[in-house]
């Protein structure tokens, strides 16, 4: 084991869960634990915390709230939610406010949890020194993948002339646009022409980790969303019909995030998606799959 152990903060209102997790991680990490969200934030202020794993439903503060505040005081901490509840509010909050790395459900598998936390810790350690200053130069553009033309109009109205906006309703064209243009943010629905394109949304992130994805959809399915977090590392999840204020805030945040990723490319590791052998790629067209393969080859 290296001289520097990664540090891990565990938050859960049930002491037995905490003790069990402590025992699991103690051999490999410097472990802090608490049942109180406020205390967790205090620890993150005082100590270097590389990874936090928090429960969602707690009496003093919800997990999403804890993660949001940790993000403020310690932005480099990798954030994971471990919860027995799959309510939509929590899961949407965990994306939009917590900007979490993984959404994990209870009961968990000890070995898988060790692996996932290990991944997060590795990323966190490699990033510790990366601050990520704002990049200069032209602001990269926005790609809209949506059947609804009003979404494009809204995006154009928000960006004005400051950012280029591309629009397509064709997946192959979307991937080509990503190759040909400097794109910071993708705004998309997960249904396109009546088909579920979440597999493509995940593939997009896997091959373009520096591109931030804002998903806007009417669909409110907990399992789909959990998958989009863990396998698609989406940056924001917004309800449809689109609301301008919300979209504007998300677009600005995403563009800023992208420019710091660009100045410190290693940071994109934060958005590493969970590899899933069984991920449904059937929804990807063969042409699209070809693109992906070529892009991967070009990268390595």
């Amino acid at each position: 084991m290296s001289a520097e152990k990664a540090s891990l903060l565990l938050v859960d209102d049930e002491e037995r869960v905490l003790r069990s997790l402590e025992l699991l991680f103690k051999p490999h990490y410097k472990v802090f634990s608490t049942t109180d969200g406020n205390e967790a934030v205090a620890i993150a202020k005082r100590e270097r915390v590389n990874v936090i794993v928090s429960d969602q439903r707690m009496p003093i503060m919800t997990g999403v709230e804890v993660l949001r505040r940790i993000r403020e005081v310690s932005p480099n901490t990798m954030r994971l939610l471990l919860t027995g509840y799959s309510d939509l509010e929590a899961i949407v909050g965990s994306v939009n406010e917590g900007e979490i790395f993984r959404y994990l459900t209870k009961p968990w598998s000890a070995k898988e949890l060790l692996t996932t936390v290990g991944q997060a810790a590795q990323i966190a350690l490699s990033l510790q020194e990366e601050a990520g200053a704002d990049a200069t130069g032209p602001v990269p553009g926005v790609l809209v993948i949506d059947d609804d033309p009003t979404v494009v109009e809204m995006v154009k109205a928000i960006t004005g002339s400051s950012q280029q906006v591309k629009w397509t309703v064709d997946l192959d064209e979307a991937f080509q646009t990503l190759v040909d243009n400097d794109i910071a943010v993708v705004v998309c629905d997960i249904r396109l022409r009546g088909r579920d394109i979440s597999a493509a949304v995940k593939a997009l992130k896997e091959s373009n980790p520096q591109v931030l994805t804002i998903v806007q959809t009417q669909l409110q399915d907990v399992e789909t969303l959990r998958n989009l977090i863990n396998h698609g590392q989406i940056y924001r999840f917004l309800p449809k019909p689109a609301r301008r204020g919300l979209l504007e805030m998300s677009l600005h945040a995403a563009t800023r995030r992208h420019s710091s990723l660009k100045s410190a490319p290693k940071l994109a590791a934060r958005y590493q998606v969970e590899k899933n052998e069984t991920a449904p790629v059937a929804a990807l067209s063969s042409k699209l799959q070809g693109f992906l393969d070529r892009m991967r080859q070009g990268r390595v």
């Binding site: 069990s20 997790l21 025992l23 051999p27 439903r57 009496p59 027995g84 209870k106 000890a110």
Partner: protein, 439 residues
């Protein structure tokens, strides 16, 4: 429903009599087969009815002495009824029947005239009208019976739906309750597996060392190799400290106990194996319900129990549990943020009293009288069937008890359930008009 049935269907076509036709000639008409079924014939001026002349009137005139001589040569207008009952053909049957009963004289000697826009279309017989009315009433009765049956079965379905909804809510809650201990029990178990894996390797190494030690042919080199192997093992394989290990086992036991307790409560709660029981402790029922409602109560709500000594009673425990769970869930939903629920039981004068009191938002005075009504709900559509309390009310009534409510908006609500200890309990003690302030 055939309420729209109209007089039109009863029209008997009969040629009209011009007003100047002589009485003698009209008498001939009555002999005619074609008019045999009619009690009276219409007198028409063009197509307007001006009167009717009845068979009975004709007989009365002709049977008089010299009747035929006196009236035979006179026009029919001399003997006709010039105020006949005239009804429009689009009148519905009940309306027509009303007019006929009001206007026609007893005994019935005339038919009535049916018109359309004032123009004569035919005659109508009272008998036909009666038959049609009877058929209509029979149909209405049948329709009502069917509607009643449908209503009854849809009410049963709704009650069933309410049961399923509250059951579903409870099951989801209990599933989550079980999930927490399951989480750490599973984690602990998987860790133990890893420890045992390590211990196995250690054991093999130990055995190897022992073999070398015991074998007369071992060399010093064999021994060194084994010792080094063991030394390496000691550095990589570690078991948690004794304290941690003790804790791990204690926590795991605790978790399993908690899961067993939840499952036991679930079994007690449904008690499907026992329809009625005669040794039920209501305090235990309340505890079971609290346990199962823990998901809605959680850390947000403090449950205070003030249980009195209660005699065991004969009742349907699963139904009473349903009532208590319903009251607890309502109380929890009435509390926004932090609050508390007071559960109090007492036994007095042959009656048991169970009070469920919350510090919630209370029930407005205009809503209070309706809360036990079926289908009354203040929850958004789709969130409550409005049957919870009405079913609770029914259950308590079937147990010969009563359920009452007092509420102060902004302060809280108190439900009081009273149940007789035995069938021959004295009448319930009258409650003091208004109980102490909710606090």
């Amino acid at each position: 429903m055939q309420d729209s049935a109209q007089l039109r269907e009863l029209v008997i076509s009969a040629p009209g009599i011009p007003p100047d036709l002589l009485v003698n000639e009209v008498a001939e008409l009555f002999m005619d087969e074609t008019h045999g079924k009619l009690l009276s014939l219409p007198v028409l001026d063009g197509d307007r009815p001006v009167g009717v002349v009845s068979r009975a009137r004709m007989q009365q005139v002709l049977f008089r002495q010299y009747g035929r001589e006196l009236f035979g040569k006179k026009p029919v207008t001399a003997i006709m009824n010039d105020t006949p009952v005239v009804i429009e053909s689009n009148t519905n049957l009940s309306e027509a029947s009303k007019t006929v009963t009001e206007r026609l004289k007893f005994p019935v000697t005339e038919d009535f005239v049916i018109t359309e826009g004032g123009r004569y279309v035919g005659m109508g017989a009272v008998m036909h009208l009666l038959n049609a009315m009877e058929a209509m009433l029979a149909k209405q009765t049948k329709d009502l019976a069917t509607a009643y049956k449908e209503l009854k079965s849809s009410q049963l379905q709704l009650i069933q739906a309410e049961k399923m909804a509250s059951l579903g809510q409870m099951v989801a809650g209990v599933a989550h309750e079980i999930n927490t201990p399951l989480g750490y029990v599973k984690n602990n178990f998987e860790m133990l597996e890893m420890y045992v894996d390590g211990a196995r390797v250690m054991m093999t190494t130990c055995n190897g060392l022992a073999d070398v030690l015991l074998s007369p042919t071992s060399t010093e080199q064999d021994l060194r190799a084994r010792l080094e192997e063991m030394q390496a093992m000691r550095q990589t394989l570690t078991l948690p400290a004794d304290d941690d290990m003790t804790r791990l086992f204690a926590d795991t036991h605790f978790g399993i106990e908690q899961i067993s307790e939840l499952v036991l409560n679930l079994k007690n709660f449904s008690r499907l194996d026992r329809a009625a029981a005669d040794d039920v402790d209501l305090n235990e029922c309340l505890d079971s319900s609290v346990m199962l409602a823990r998901n809605v109560l959680k850390a947000r709500i403090n449950v205070v129990r003030q249980y009195g000594q209660l005699p065991r009673i004969s009742c349907l425990p699963s139904q009473l549990n349903q009532v208590f769970l319903n009251l607890l869930t309502n109380a929890a939903q009435a509390i926004e943020g932090q609050g508390s629920i007071l559960l109090r039981t007492e036994s007095k004068d042959g009656w048991l009293k169970v009070t469920v009191q919350d510090t919630g938002k209370g029930i407005p005075a205009d809503v209070l009288p309706r809360i036990f009504d079926p289908f009354f709900t203040t929850k958004p559509v789709g969130q409550g069937t409005g049957l919870g309390l009405s079913i609770s009310y029914q259950i308590i009534q079937q147990h010969n008890g009563d359920i009452r409510v007092t509420s102060q908006p902004g302060k809280g609500t108190r439900f009081t359930v009273r149940l007789p200890v035995s069938k021959d309990a004295p009448p319930p003690p009258e409650e003091q008009p208004e109980e102490k302030e909710l606090s």
